[in-house]
């Protein structure tokens, strides 16, 4: 008999017909019966004497892993369920921030922009200031409505430049009097300059805002839908005293 059949017989793995054949053989072959007994003994011995490992501690570590998997799944489920909402919310925040900032940019300009504004403007030809008619016409053409508030007679314009900053038309005039040169910026719209810093004699009055730009005193005001910024190597009070002469209206 094939010894494998005997093992399978002991294990109960033979078909009914094969089992009958083995049993018949065992009845007539004591050696075969002894072999079957030996297989049975060894099988039982192995089963009853094999070590049983204590896994109580290692099982706890397994449970911890299950808990970690559950935690990760909960997080994934949350993110997956609300991913679109989270992304959409984030988008709205970015959009709102951009609109807000743009809104701010529309009416506020950091003082650091002033140097950029003055440097980036393109110089333009200025008439000889003694020709007052020419000067009037020049300022009308250059400044538009802003010229209505200015007193050209008070101005000695020695230089001019113009350009666009953040979509706003900007004109720079270089003015000169007996004390030296001044720079005046004229911008479309109502603009508030931020971060001017505090000047020694700064005082918010008469609608002026005073401050310092790069250590230089400046005064800012709005008239007629335009914003003016006068800068010079003088005190803010001196500049404020010039404003009525330059901008009497």
């Amino acid at each position: 008999m094939d010894p494998m059949n005997l093992h399978a017989f002991v294990d109960g793995e033979l078909s009914a017909e094969e089992t009958r054949a083995v049993k018949a053989a065992l009845r007539h072959d004591p050696a075969l019966q002894s072999e079957a007994d030996s297989i049975r003994s060894l099988k039982e011995f192995t089963r009853t004497h094999a070590m049983t490992l204590d896994g109580s501690e290692s099982w706890k570590a397994v449970v911890v892993r299950f808990n970690e998997i559950d935690r990760a799944r909960r997080t994934e489920a949350f993110v997956g369920r609300y991913a679109w909402a989270l992304a959409g919310g984030l988008f709205l925040v970015v959009l709102a921030g951009g609109i807000f900032n743009r809104g701010l940019d529309g009416n506020r300009l950091p003082s650091e922009e002033i140097a950029h504004m003055t440097a980036s403007l393109a110089p333009i030809r200025t008439p000889v200031s003694s020709d007052q008619r020419a000067m009037n016409a020049y300022l009308d053409g250059l400044l538009g409505r802003a010229s209505e508030v200015l007193s050209p007679e008070s101005l000695t314009v020695v230089g001019a430049a113009k350009g666009e900053i953040h979509g706003r038309r900007v004109t720079r005039l270089t003015l000169r009097d007996q004390e030296g040169d001044l720079a005046m910026l004229i911008m479309d719209g109502n603009v508030r300059f931020e971060g001017l810093g505090s000047a020694e004699s700064a005082s918010p009055r008469n609608g002026f805002r005073s401050g310092l730009v790069d250590g230089m005193a400046c005064v800012s005001w709005t008239r007629n839908g335009n914003t003016f910024l006068l800068m010079g190597n003088r005190t803010a009070e001196d500049l404020e005293s010039l404003v009525p002469r330059i901008c009497p209206n």
Binding site: M4, H7, L42, K43, H49, A50, M51, L53, S58, W59
Partner: protein, 181 residues
């Protein structure tokens, strides 16, 4: 959804805890190291937990042992782990267990302790060893052993027979060394 997921976790944990000792025993007899066995079992259970939704509900032990065995094949079998298959082919001759005069009797076997059984098991070729472990210790039928190990039933039958013969020989050698026979 939350309760359903918790039910799945509870059910899996119950089943896993029930078969955990068996898994540990099988893993130990595969990896031949307690630490590696625990690692192997943990990884198999993690994989099983992650794939539990695919379990058809029949025979959890067989299913998880299949995962364990595959885990062992993928991770550990690359390293040399002692005898894999004996020099004889799978279809080689199965030696008889022994004649009446040389077989130690039942009482003699009972004198041996479990450590000797384990040592003898670990000394036989791996494929035979795992077949004997699953059959004689875990009491699994041939078709389940075939499913777990990924071989035909006929190969399982051969490995069990040859494994028992090899185990028997090891135990006899020990008995002779110790003067039992």
């Amino acid at each position: 959804m939350l309760f359903r997921r918790r039910d799945g976790r509870d059910a899996f944990e119950r089943e896993a805890e029930r078969v955990y000792p068996s898994m540990l025993g099988v893993a130990y007899r595969l990896a031949r190291s307690r630490d590696e066995a625990e690692d192997l079992v943990q990884e198999a259970l993690v994989r099983g937990y992650e794939a539990y939704s695919k379990f058809d509900g029949n025979n959890f032990k067989g299913w998880i042992l299949r995962i364990l065995f595959n885990q062992y094949i993928n991770r550990y079998r690359q390293k040399t782990r002692g005898p894999q298959i004996s020099s004889l082919s799978e279809d080689g001759v199965v030696e008889p267990m022994g004649d009446e005069q040389s077989i130690p009797d039942r009482a003699l076997l009972n004198d041996m302790v479990g450590a000797e059984v384990e040592n003898a098991l670990l000394a036989i070729p791996e494929d035979f060893r795992i077949a004997v472990v699953l059959s004689d210790i875990e009491q699994m039928p041939y078709n389940e052993i075939a499913e777990i190990t990924g071989v035909p039933v006929g190969t399982v039958r051969s490995r069990i027979a040859r494994g028992r013969a090899a185990l028997r020989k090891r135990l006899e050698q020990y008995a002779q060394q110790e003067g039992f026979i």
